[in-house]
Symmetry: D2
């Protein structure tokens, strides 16, 4: 078998880190109680508490959409509204799963860099107590954003404060939270717990896990009755030890950090290599593992044949390149050298 | 580390078959397109077509509840009703996930052995075209049932015919379908396709997979727009190759058969060993990998301490023992010898 | 125009009591604030408080299904279950509206007379705290039942006590509650508030109103955020004064009592007239305004042509006759005389 | 009793036209089959066919939210998206009822005058066949808009054509459609059927009815199974004759036209009277029965005390004045004279 080439289409296209696979294999002995009442799950949950604070409660689910939708379900009733960027994964990439499962309205804020501001959110904070109006209840942000940018702790805190002033919650879609932590050089606790975030979708799959995400409730009480929601939301794994084993290794061995560090570093390298190329315009700040660029239209399909990637905006010839935990310098060199060749 | 003891609590408590784990590991090379557009998924889907017929279409999901709920969603609109046994997993073990996601009513038929009959279903086939009445649209059966019994192909065909006579569908929850195929000694095609089943939830997790189930549409057209339902239903795996790799090995190497054969065989052995014991009454026919028995109340907790299992009916002191793909003769001997000792 | 004949098909087939129509007409002056912030609505709500207790809160909706579904929504989250008779209107006559809007499972208890007992409910009070199981949260009964029978206050209290012992609620579908109050000879407060009922769907349409039902929360706090549920449930009337005016007259002038008294009295008369007729078997106790009887199959269609009514159970030739607020002795005489003639 | 003063807060605050009330009263004789199988409903439905075309099918519901939500439900499955103006009633005034009942996403287009254009919609017509993306299926416009403006038939046709080119539908929220017909001076058929609209929410309550709206399917087949949706959507009236009688009179006697003509005329008069007033700026074209204006902040509350109305935009001191079927010249004179007095 010829191993498929590494590309820049998506961090979801990368495989599983070998140490994660090993952790799965190590967990594969004998019988344990299903559905999470096993010692590996217990340890993995404790690991989250160690990182985010002892008041934290954690629930594992299968995938990112599950983590986001169930986080919102835990914080809302059906007549609530969730405020997010128009570029948010919950808005554009989840096929209306949030609306269907929660009944809530998504109020979207136009965003050019994937981020939303206190000022922009404030414009939608009206109609409280007015029964004709879906009641704003959650602000949801993505860290790092779908555009490869990130929020500073100060920005997160400002949004959390705004939410709490209005009896609302702040949810963070952390599908790529490890990449943010590496760039910011701070702990998860400093970024999330200390800024006042209420619920976090803690991603793993895009950063070297096989499957599995974690919903992290940062404050006591927010997970009341949540176990029923997870089950009803079709996210309760029977053989949960295999998700837990992944997270335990991921956190305990700091795989999250080395994987994200590599991906971020490769994105920076890609950015650097692209800088001098005429006809290539970087469109977003490169703060994590995504690089967005406008390139000549006529080279796109040829380039895609060698290194598949997605066109982000057809009208502008803007493309997206994602680096992964397994991207190597050689990949960047081959890719940019081909690109340079095509441009000239 | 001390390996946990094998018990009889649930086939979900067992681990992953080594050859399945190897298949996962073998798939862990390089990048592939996420969300199912990869060659392993293509092969796994083709394998299902080979076994069930070329007109079949297959969609992988994460878990059994997802497979059942999305099968029903594909066959219904919200004003429909689904007829099933009161013992059905969709009725008692899925926390109202079918109702929430589909909007449909579940019409339950009292069942002492987990099965429903044409006669019992017929009593509910009325109110068609009457808008006050949720319209019966699906008959859903479990093979093998939650009580360890099974339907003959003839019985399945009779229910399929009944469904089709009323413009309805037959769904099979096949969480333990491999066990049925082994006992009946027939192919999946003979049991499912040839009897007229419309949609099958094809289970793997309870029989040696790590995670992953398959929704098998047996007839063209039934999966129209289903890809959106799977995504919205939070069941579209990003790194799908790891589910597909499991199913490919499971079917290609007939792991399904050897695993189920072992579980069934061990259940038979357990049944046999229990036969002579005074005070122990087997309550269901042993046709797959479950043994149900009434035992003396005073021995239950002591027995559970050594070999954990669930009490099925508190009022009757009826317990459930499940065998697994990894149950060994030695487990049965140790367990029944302890049981005998406690009874005397 | 020839006025259509009064029949026994349904109390929904009767028109509007003249004094109700007058109240509507009297309310039709000038402008009032829409959506319920008007003085007539205020008075009507106060009238309910006077009858049920000052702690009561009342919300008007358009129809009985709306009253039932929103009552259940107020008491549940989506992972809950509602226990009711298999004959309950919420189970057989609302096209799965409760399941769709609340997400909850309906657990049905077989009932031959429309009533459920403490013993029968108790069998379903298990699986608490077990996330696989939809959590029982509401017992819902109908007063008077769909079979024309009724619960004594003692029976209601026993069910309320049972519910409260399990942290559950008792809901009463009172589409025909006036008929029960008249038969029992007690006040609404004695029947509902004093027995511990939590929420009541208070019907009006079947007893002489044009449209409109009331949801009566008997205990403070149960209606928290309910105004949003009513709006989202498509039950908030813009010109609400016309519903309120009906209820104000209905309660203030005791139209509920005189209307129900007439209907009940006519049912009793019908019962009496039928008693002597050979081949006619009354199948349910006549406690309100419904009479159920098995009659010779061959006379059904001829009888229906003159006085339309519904066959309740095709297999048994059991029919349902409902009397109304406007049924007159003459109607009974004509009908029973025709029936006698046909039987002989 | 002192008759409340007519104001400009909402056309929902006005009462019922006397001829509508008379029609209700005239319908109040004897028994008719409930739930719409009565001759009045038959006639009312035929009247709609006469006006919109014989291929039309019509379903009565209780209220505007019900009409809108069920129209969308008929046209969508849960993974679809509906494109509308951000000012649309379905987006801002229905408490997320569309999302909850249909599961669909609402994609909103910023609009300053309540209208959307082909160009603006086109930007959202992408992601077809991509399962991560809620699939655009309906364009929904309001005629006349929430801002008192209207679409020309040509504009409607352009949006209908655009929808049909993408296998989508055009829905019109016609809560105030009569006002548009009067201004445009064309028939309903010319405005709706001939332009290619698929489904229309035909409003009545805001223009002199007591309650009741009609869902008009303009093309055969679109109402397939719709009767179940209406029932499940809690919009099937038992005593339907009283809705039907209103619509029959409304259409047959052209009450829709005279009522809307008066409201429109009074809005024009109000506009004219305001024109000369310094400090008052009209912010929207006055094409129907709404007048939007920026007025001095300090006079708002005093003015509201005499003639209650709503502030549309707090930040801009923009207010909304609605005229009604019963607004009289005298009301305009009194109001504008007070306003003038306050301004000076």
């Amino acid at each position: 078998m010829i191993f498929p080439k590494r590309g820049f289409a998506s961090d979801n296209n990368a495989g599983v880190h070998p140490d994660i696979l090993k952790a799965i294999s190590d967990a594969n002995h004998g019988h344990t109680i299903a559905y999470g009442d096993d010692p590996i799950t217990e340890q993995a949950k404790q690991k989250f508490k160690d990182l985010f604070g002892q008041q934290t409660s954690v629930y594992f689910v299968f995938l990112g959409t599950g983590a986001n939708v169930l986080s919102l379900k835990a914080l809302t009733d059906s007549y609530h509204a969730v405020i997010c960027a128009d570029t948010a994964h919950i808005n554009v990439d989840e096929c209306s799963a949030p609306e269907k499962f929660t009944g809530c309205k998504l109020i979207t804020i136009p965003s050019s860099n994937g981020k939303i501001t206190v000022e922009a959110v404030q414009k939608h904070l009206h109609g409280f107590d007015f029964e004709h109006h879906a009641q704003p209840k959650v602000i949801s942000i993505t860290q790092t954003t779908e555009l490869g940018t990130l929020y500073t702790p100060k920005e997160i805190k400002a949004l959390a404060d705004l939410a709490h002033q209005h009896n609302m919650y702040l949810h963070v879609d952390g599908a790529r939270i490890a990449n943010a932590a590496v760039t910011l050089g701070i702990s998860f606790k400093e970024m999330i717990t200390d800024t006042g975030v209420d619920v976090l979708s803690f991603g793993g799959t895009k950063n070297g896990l096989m499957y599995g995400e974690a919903i992290v409730f940062l404050k006591p009480g927010l997970d009341k009755n949540f176990k029923y929601m997870r089950k009803q939301g079709m996210q309760l794994a029977s053989k949960m030890r295999y998700i837990s084993a992944q997270f335990l290794a991921y956190l305990d061995q700091e795989i999250w950090k080395s994987n994200a560090a590599n991906a971020n570093c490769m994105a920076k390298l890609l950015h650097k290599e692209l800088s001098g190329i005429k006809g290539v315009t970087i469109t977003q700040e490169v703060q994590a593992n995504g690089v967005f660029a406008i390139i000549p239209k006529d080279i796109i399909s040829t380039l895609q044949k060698e290194f598949f990637f997605y066109v982000w905006d057809e009208n502008k010839n803007e493309v997206r390149w994602m680096t992964s935990w397994d991207t190597q310098e050689e990949d960047i060199k081959l890719f940019t050298s081909l690109l340079k060749q095509l441009v000239h």
